[in-house]
Amino acid sequence: MTGTPGRSVVAAIDQGTTSTRCLLFDHDGQMVSLTQREHRQHYPRPGWVEHDAEEIWRVVERIVPEAVRQAGLEPAQVAGLGIANQRETTVVWDPATGRVLAPAITWQDTRADELVAGLVADGHAEEFRRRSGLTPAGYFAGPRLRWLLDHVPGLRERAGQGRALFGTMESWLIWQLTGGPEGGRHVTDVTNASRTMMMDLRTHTWDPVLLDLLEVPPAVLPEIVPTTGPFGACRTVLPGVAIGGAIGDQQAALVGQTCFAPGEAKCTYGTGAFVLLNTGERIVDSHHGLIPTVAYHLRDQQPVYALEGSIAVTGSLVQWFRDALEMIPTAPQIETLARTVEDNGGCYIVPAFSGLYAPRWRADARGIVVGLTSYVRRGHLARAVLEATGWQTWEVVRAMDADSGIPLAALKVDGGMTANHLLMQFVADVLDVPVERPLVSETVSLGAAYAAGLGIGFWADLEGLRRNWHRAARWTPTIDPEHRAREAANWSDAVNRALGWSPR
């Protein structure tokens, strides 16, 4: 065992969209403590979703010491602290007071869409793609920062004079933890920086051309550092404890699932789903609507990249089926209902509630149910709901195969929907690869802990971490290939019928 004697655990902060959690893990990667607290969601206008970054910081101040107490430990027994965070959420604050200068604009917020449409209309899309690897979208942090600079009175002037700082959520928390107005470190981890549309994906530095296009003064920007820092030590909350790592939440899940070799992939099933495929030291330029991104960068090693495909609606379709259609009393009972029938009865649901994400990126798509006949019963609709998640995963994985040339060998899954065996079997069937669920389902927090533990030497190397990964369940393909091909063709036809819907 490596690590300082007496320092037995690593703490992970998972700063998420609806809540912040603190988990402690021991050297075997087993969770020993968990605390959690929600924060408020603010919807000031349609399409706007804001968080109060000060409220989130107060939550962190409270739950981290609580988690250490709950485990019966002293702060001195915590070897290091890691942070995983909701990505692309944009914070600006005053370095002199530590107060925020505007509400944080979250990743779900659409206010920067128009601004990005302007950049694209001016012919800058290719420049952003070539340098940052990202196709311009209001989803990324850079355009949100630009919106703030344009709309918060006095912010642009402050920014030019070094009297305003920008950061994504991990940046804000690290600055507060390392002293805030008294010498707080203004840094960002490279996985988060790779989602701003402002970073050169090859050099991991802010790109002056892109900053110019977005009219962002360099003085507001944090220093980009590897996933394992250096970030410095906490001066509050856990005084003296080193911050060993920081990483975006989906990349954290990739690390928590120990997908360390090129070709290894994970899918996290929540309200939406995120597939990340490790592409090794290679940046894979996507021609199929995927996002090349930094997977992780361990200090003094080569950075590792990933291809990412995001699906907007998976678990939220089950929630809709439960709450809006009142077809089932609880989400897990969709499996009960789906098992009342043998198949989908010819029915397909394309859940393009707000257009389609990867790999199609069609804003003009809307949700449809097709193949309705008098034969179709509730159970068939339940099947179609679950199959929609399977086929959307299939589309993303197929695009990854085409872009990377690395065929997937197995898919590691996590998230609440992995309790649904019918769905997991269906995913294995349509992907034609085994689907595996790990014993530790808290993959995001575990990934943050791993990043921190690698950063401070609590864990020696990636291979050691692999030994902590244990398979809790495995589903292998059983479907007849001809049947799969027929169903795939039907799904594709259904998606085509969902495109181009523009009600007057």
């Binding site: 009972q333 969709i334 014993l439 389902s441 244990h470 398979r471």
Partner: protein
């Protein structure tokens, strides 16, 4: 032919009346509609409120049908709700004991596996969901039997002998169920498959009724001492997990 019981008929009439009423009814309205004296009507309503079939609004004092009626139609807990609730607890149980974990529900004369966590040792394993286990020859099955109100008397078939250790006599099984009730868990070393055993504890839903059982399963040497008694740390982990899942099952989400 025995006579009909008047108070039950009147109770049923109250339920029919409330079921068809909108908005809720007052005591006077129920009494008038049924042509009964108020004290009698009040007694009927109070009894029905007590068993959960009728609900009285705290502020308006009016009566409506209660939640106890709808839960009559549910047979225990939905197995997929059960799996969803149990998953994280079963994961930690497997991590702690290094054994595979099973959650079963009663299906006729068998315990049906509805959730399975692999033994965390990297070996090739197959999902056992859907497998039927004998109630009398497994810990998980006996935990289900011991928690049920009818016990082993509800078993219809003969007690099949799978190994030399299988309890095949009804009296012996009854004794084992008594022990399981006293201990809070049931242990079955090598009774279904030689050298394989399990330690199970019942999961209880609303009202303490058994809805399933959770168990650690594996080679007898890993779960039992040389004397064939379940290792205390395994039994403790299984009963603590069963208690945690049971608590989660009755906590509204």
């Amino acid at each position: 032919m025995p006579g009909r019981i008047q108070s039950l008929e009147r109770g049923a009439a109250v339920l029919s009346l409330l079921g068809g009423a909108s908005p809720d009814l007052s005591l006077a309205e129920v009494a008038d509609a049924l042509g009964l004296p108020r004290p009698t009507t009040h007694g009927l309503l109070a009894t029905l409120v007590h068993v959960g079939f009728v609900q009285q609004d705290g502020r308006s004092r009016r009566y409506r049908l209660g939640a106890g009626l709808t839960s009559l139609q549910q047979h225990g807990v939905d197995r997929h709700d059960l799996r969803s609730t149990a998953t994280s607890w079963c994961d930690s149980l497997a991590a702690r004991t290094r054994a595979e974990v099973l959650v079963c529900v009663r299906t006729g004369d068998a315990a049906e596996v509805v959730h399975h966590v692999f033994r965390p040792d990297g070996s090739e394993q197959r999902l056992r969901v859907g497998e039927l286990l004998p109630l009398h020859a497994t810990g998980v099955g006996r935990a289900l039997l011991a928690a049920s109100t009818t016990g082993h008397r509800a078993l219809t078939g003969p007690l099949t002998a799978y190994t030399a250790r299988t309890p095949t006599a009804s009296t012996r099984l009854a004794g084992l169920l008594d022990r399981a009730r006293a201990a809070g868990f049931a242990a079955a070393p090598g009774e279904h498959v030689p050298e394989v055993g399990d330690v199970g504890a019942a999961l209880r839903g609303v009202g303490g009724l058994p809805v399933g059982a959770v168990a650690c399963a594996g080679h007898v040497d890993t779960l039992f001492g040389p004397d064939g008694v379940a290792r205390p740390e395994v039994a403790q982990a299984v009963t603590a997990t069963a208690a945690a899942i049971s608590r989660a099952l009755v906590t509204p989400r």
